[in-house]
């Protein structure tokens, strides 16, 4: 039962990764690409980690996985912000 649930979560996570990657390649401009990448990755990673946490031996490992997700969430949001800000600045500058 738990195995099925965690497999479903991981598969769903992988789907978001796929969608994000396609978005990165296909979307027209930087902002929409960033949007696709961060949104999909955060959600994809969240689902992936939820799936893995179900497989964890004890609570400590599940907690560590959660911590990883939070750290990446914050880092990718900040990165997206920095990239977008730099892009805006370059546009207004030229």
């Amino acid at each position: 039962m738990i195995d099925v649930l965690s497999s479903l979560l991981i598969l769903a996570g992988l789907f978001f990764y796929l969608a994000g990657s396609i978005g990165l390649l296909r979307l027209p401009d930087l902002y929409s690409r960033l949007h696709a990448l961060t949104k999909a990755d955060n959600l994809g990673l969240g689902l992936l980690i939820a799936g893995l946490a179900l497989q964890a031996q004890d609570l400590l490992i599940a907690f560590k996985l959660l911590l990883i997700w939070l750290a990446i969430l914050a880092a990718s949001a900040t990165n997206a912000h920095l990239i977008a800000r730099q892009a805006r600045r370059l546009e207004s500058g030229s």
Partner: protein
């Protein structure tokens, strides 16, 4: 079924690694090349994890991909004026005529021959059963080594002499870098959002470093992974425009740089004076001595890696003017 899936996974992973390496080396733009190289390092870390080398995976992710990547990215970071000037020589146009073509083909052929010979020898080595004498000797002596993680036991006890010289290599590189006296350009102060990240990321990194150092005795981790994580905190601070990067000045900084080699040597020579072999820890103290050496090594590794990234002793007076200059040039 399981074996087949593993085979497919291995194949895809290796395909990814080799193509990333190829793409990085063949890319026409230096910056793309560096970014692809960092991706290569990260995927490599996955491969190390796959091959049951968790210690190496941690070090690769932190040092091989992380810090090397930061160093390389800083090297390709150019001011706008340079970017325009550099574009001409940057775009690598292989000359497809005559001698050059011949050279390219002969070198390629030579490298193919090398790959073939290496593969031939390696397959020959793989055809016999793996040598177990050394791994067996290590597990037989693990009890006396003071730690239960065999990799840490090799690094800090059985082959501690290698690690001492390796710390000397790191120190040498940084002394060479400082002697060149060319700091990397200073970064502008972070905006509120980046600053918010830095504010909690740096403490978390310091905490993680401490954890990695402690856990190294019985699980993957240790001074090098911890030192690299600590150095990452310094790099983040530098990127956020903090001029002092949390490093002390003058004499204290020199002590920090020398700490790894100095403590290692002090322990080794004290044991020698007490009538034991150089670095021959008494089994009862081995765990404690290794922890002392690793703590000093972690601090030294972190300090030297940050200094290697900054490229010079941090100075707070000159930085303001320099950062203003960078900002003006970026605005231009």
């Amino acid at each position: 079924m399981n074996a087949l899936m593993l085979l497919v996974f291995d194949g895809l992973l290796l395909l990814g690694i080799v193509s990333l390496a190829w793409a990085s080396l063949a890319s026409s733009d230096d910056r793309n090349s560096v970014i692809l190289f960092m991706a290569f390092g990260l995927v490599l870390a996955v491969a190390w994890g796959r091959l049951m080398a968790a210690d190496v995976a941690l070090a690769e992710a932190a040092i091989g991909a992380g810090l090397s990547g930061a160093l390389l990215l800083a090297a390709v970071r150019k001011r706008p004026a340079q970017m325009a000037a550099g574009r001409a020589n940057n775009s690598h146009n292989p000359d497809r005529t005559g001698v050059n073509m011949l050279l390219q083909w002969s070198v390629t052929l030579l490298c193919a021959a090398l790959a073939g010979t290496l593969a031939w020898a390696l397959l020959d080595a793989f055809s016999s059963t793996p040598h177990e004498t050394l791994p067996q000797a290590i597990s037989a002596n693990l009890e006396a080594s003071g730690v239960s993680n065999p990799v840490t036991a090799v690094l800090l006890n059985f082959r501690a002499y290698d690690t001492l010289l390796e710390l000397a290599v790191l120190l040498t590189a940084v002394l060479g870098i400082l002697a060149m006296g060319r700091a990397t350009a200073v970064y502008q102060p972070a905006g509120p959002i980046f600053d918010g990240l830095v504010r909690w990321l740096v403490p978390v990194l310091i905490l993680t470093a401490g954890y990695l150092l402690w856990v190294g005795a019985h699980a993957p981790g240790g001074a090098f992974q911890a030192g690299a994580t600590l150095a990452a905190a310094g790099v983040v601070l530098h990127l956020a425009g903090h001029p002092r990067i949390g490093l002390p000045a003058g004499f204290a900084l020199r002590i920090l740089m020398a700490a790894g080699v100095a403590v290692f040597l002090a322990v080794g020579l004290s044991l020698l004076v007490m009538g034991r072999p150089f670095l021959g820890y008494p089994p009862a103290w081995a765990g404690a001595l290794i922890l002392i050496i690793e703590s000093a090594a972690m601090l030294a590794i972190a300090a030297t890696l940050v200094l290697a990234f900054v490229g010079a002793f941090p100075r707070s007076t000159a930085t303001r003017a320099a950062s203003r200059q960078v900002r003006e040039e970026e605005a231009r």
